[in-house]
């Protein structure tokens, strides 16, 4: 790729903003991937603190146990990537007003936990921010079976899913699969921001 073309892509990403609902396994890893890719502005929303049990898959470190996730994630992103503005929003999303923190971002990433909360969130984004692209993920538990993970697009909803995976209530959450889906969410965000890559 020509350097002018690379510079143009970098400029588009630098001017983009992405909202991330949840800073757990999906959200912390998706945010880090987007920051390293050069997205200029991230709005990360979570109310939780880092727990020792999170470290097997979430982008935190042992000395951050007990810290607010959004603050710890902002610190980690600032260590890894230069020039990214991170709005660390320590907030529990309340049904009926879930879309509010994401009014001004270009793309929303659903990175929440329980099926009910994930569902409510995506429905509120579709309803309250019509046309806003939202990238959701489903089926993060377990290991292997990479070929089952698929990307389904029902614009403006983009869904990364393994339909046959167990619920996290019955299955185990481990870094490789959780991070795979998180990075597929981030990769889909890039496709939304930059358009589908042309390959010869």
């Amino acid at each position: 790729m020509e350097s002018a073309e690379k510079a143009a892509l970098a400029a588009r990403l630098r001017g983009a903003s992405v909202g991330i609902a949840g800073a757990g396994g999906l959200g912390s890893n998706a945010a880090m991937a987007l920051a390293r890719a050069g997205v200029g502005h991230l709005v990360v929303v979570d109310f939780d603190r880092v727990d020792a049990g999170n470290l097997n898959r979430q982008y935190y470190f042992r000395d951050q146990v007990g810290s607010l996730k959004v603050e710890a994630l902002k610190a980690n992103i600032e260590r890894a990537a230069e020039g990214v503005r991170v709005d660390a929003v320590n907030l529990k999303l309340i049904a009926g007003r879930m879309a509010e923190p994401f009014k001004d971002v270009d793309v929303v990433v659903e990175a929440l936990d329980s099926a009910e909360t994930k569902t409510r969130f995506v429905q509120e984004i579709l309803r309250d921010l019509p046309g806003k692209p939202v990238v959701a993920a489903s089926g993060v538990a377990g290991w292997g079976a990479c070929e089952r993970i698929e990307v389904r697009t029902f614009a403006p909803l983009h869904l990364i899913r393994d339909e046959r995976a167990r619920s996290s209530d019955d299955g185990v959450l481990l870094a490789p699969k959780v991070c795979t889906l998180a990075n597929m969410q981030a990769n889909t965000v890039l496709e939304i921001l930059l358009g589908v890559e042309r390959v010869d």
Binding site: G25, G139, L159, S168, D169
Partner: protein
Amino acid sequence: MSIDVNGDAIPYIEGETISDLLARMSYVFPMLVVVVDGEIVQETDFPSTRFPDGAKIEVIHLTSGG
């Protein structure tokens, strides 16, 4: 006279709405959206949305874990 719901052939009932169909299917998971012939239908529109004979319908839901 049938429709395709998540890959299963189901008898078509004229005038049925998405809400009626979901009740008929007895789904227990929280429904995210329903996609009718590629078009997304939001939950608020389930009671007023009808579909034609032969429609391909996908009921989309999300599994816990994040």
